[in-house]
């Protein structure tokens, strides 16, 4: 029982032709998933937070809490 001749040339090229487009596509998918799963929600969360943010009110709350040295709480 003698063995048939297998393919012996271009094996790496064949492998790369198959795997590199897949690798490239998966990389793009991973980047897109991170962008739309992580960075965009994060940016949106910041935007939502600051949309209704009243800086003066927050400042006065902090002032009354006594954390500042340059302005004392009102009434002292």
């Amino acid at each position: 029982m003698s063995l048939a001749k297998p393919a012996m040339r271009g094996l790496l090229g064949k492998r790369l032709r198959f795997h590199l487009p897949i690798a490239f596509a998966l990389s793009v998918v991973a980047a897109a998933a991170f962008k739309y799963g992580v960075t965009e929600p994060r940016k949106q969360a910041y935007a939502d937070f600051y949309k209704q943010y009243d800086a003066t009110k927050e400042f006065n709350n902090m002032r009354e809490a006594g954390i500042f040295e340059s302005v004392r709480p009102t009434g002292k």
């Binding site: 063995l3 048939a4 271009g10 094996l11 790496l12 090229g13 492998r15």
Partner: protein
């Protein structure tokens, strides 16, 4: 991919499909277009290497250089090339290199497990004539 560093892999960029280049599916393993000449066929490539190793007064450096260059290509050498290389080892009284060549082509096959047994089958007459044991026969695998 272990052979990445040394391999010369050339895609055959023949067809342009949907506006991007898609490689052709007849693999041309290793010939360069760099001289702009006629492409060497597989048979010419094999014949060139058989001639290289068949040089009667080949020296040890040329044997090593030839094998290292050959292993760098994206192919497993044909039995006739390996036979010429093994005979060169015989002329140089170099059994170690002869067995190393067998180990090298086994490694070169990578995940394609059918190649090495086929090569040993084709080389069996030469191995017997020259008295070369395979690493498997000596338990060195």
């Amino acid at each position: 991919m272990r052979n990445w560093g040394g391999s010369v892999v050339h895609f055959n960029w023949r067809h342009t499909v949907y506006g991007y280049v898609q490689s052709c599916y007849t693999p041309l393993a290793q010939r360069c277009y760099s001289h702009g000449g006629k492409l060497e066929s597989d048979e010419e490539f094999d014949a060139r290497w058989v001639t290289y190793f068949n040089k009667a007064d080949i020296d040890a450096w040329e044997l090593r250089k030839g094998m290292n260059t050959l292993i760098g290509y994206d192919l497993v050498p044909e039995p006739k090339i390996l036979e010429a290389a093994l005979r060169a080892c015989r002329r140089l009284d170099d059994l170690a290199s002869a067995m190393r060549i067998l180990e090298a082509v086994k490694d070169k096959s990578g995940p394609h497990k059918k190649i090495y047994p086929y090569l040993i089958q084709e080389l069996r007459p030469t191995l017997d004539e020259l008295g070369i044991s395979t690493p498997e026969e000596l338990g060195m695998d």
